[in-house]
Amino acid sequence: MQLRSRRDKLQFSALLLPGILVFALFTIYPIVKLFGMSFLRWDLGSMFDKSFAGFDNYKTVLTDKTFRIAFENTLIYTFVTVPGQMILGLFAAVLIHSIPRFRVTFRVIYYIPVITSWVIVSLVFRYIFNTEGMLNYLLTNVLHLTAKNVAWLNTRWGGMTVVMLLGIWKGVGWNLVVFLAALQSVPNELYEAAEVDGCGSVAKFFSITLPSIKPTILFALVMLTIGGFNVFTSIKMITDGKPMHQTETVLTWMYYKAFSAGQFGYAAALSFIVAVTLMILAFLQFKAMKNQNE
């Protein structure tokens, strides 16, 4: 569309500018600022007297044992929860798509965890997985699966398991709705043709359904990967990094370093590393998505 008159140009600018302004002020500027901060020696002792530190902050971050643990935890969280919720969500979507009644009801029920805030569900999970909580009572005293209460929240892998279960549980509904919408748009003729060829439902799923919803799968993959790297509130509320910072994720560790330890230079470098990692990851996924669409 070419803008002809002056009036149109003005009006166009009036529509464009608020967006650009918000971007420039609240995202672009902070990114530039963050980049600058990551090269400063800036902790509590040097708060009012910052000096240039070169790549020192980056070196410190990359050689920090806790950062490595936090990074590992984030990757594991992402690699477990993303496929976990996608598979369960797709499975539920296929089931709901194929039933004659109560589709909307199920969709609503499965979506409730999605709309419940992270703070609330984290507290509920913490309560359920408490060493003296309901789940342990069921496992130990009712089902006798364990001899004594499992200390879920006391170890790195126990804590991570709880947080990952929460991530999957909360995400299934979103995937379900996204995939259900995609399934509804797959033309019925394709299935009819396959039926004529004598395909069973499993074969139909893999030969027709999956390829048809590939763009949606990739869309979900990108969005969920971003979400996985964003994990913060659940960790903060459930384990708070305990024990010994072994359940930190990159963002909780960044927050701790900045706002509890006052090491702003370190935290800025860490933020930047996370942002770049995620950019690369998402770029690769977007690229894959584009190739698929062509």
Partner: protein, 281 residues
Amino acid sequence: MRKRHTTLANAGKYLFLLIGGAVSVMPMIYMLSTSLRPNGALYEFPPHFFPRLSEITFENYQYIFTQEKFYLNFLNSVLVAIITIVLAAFVSTALAYCLARFRFPGRNLLFALVIGMMIIPGTTLIIPQYQLATFFKLTNRLAGLIPFYVAWVIPFSTFMIKSYIEGIPKEYDEAVYADGGSVFTVFFRIILPLSSPAIASVSIFNFLTSWEEFTWAMTVINDNAKRTLPIAISGFFGQHQFTQWGYVFAMSMASLVPVLIVFICCQKFFVSGLQAGGLKG
């Protein structure tokens, strides 16, 4: 024969779905049940999933609802959420319209930025954003939450609305221009009304984002009276070595119910919005 087979298969499907549904809502029911019993009964043995009829009490709700603070926190959350979605809807629809319909220098760069911002977790920028909030004297004020929430939700909103606008035939625009209409005419008469389903569904997501946002609010807000609900709820948790779970969950229920109502009333929009984004990628 075939029919019976289908019925049986359907029964299996319903069973699976029921189990899944039960797992989905169980934690909320447990939360409701805990909020209905006295605080002292929480470490009883054996624990009960449902409260006994005789022990059901509304004392936790009474406590929450007699606290002036609760209403303030609730009001804060509502205000912040509403202003956020209105601002975000306007800014992102305008931006999406520009991106979808016009060629202008830097357009590709701008779109790349939109995508880029979707990717970078908001929390990574929290340090410079905090300094920005300080510079504008926005710390410890509700106004310190809104512009940042708007900035966070704009990329995704713009992305979604843009793909929706691209589905609106360009002929509509051209007809308006042919009649002597301007860019504004197209925007307000064609684009805004026609893309309202996408705006609505995006706004619901933005509402949720703002309603549940925790990290930024925790960092920026100090005063009890200015806290939003998530901060108020987490403040109840873990006070001096013992947690009054009854209060925590009563307050959580009070914060969940409005969202549930909005969701059940508007659940169509949730789906249509996701459809637009999901299908077009």
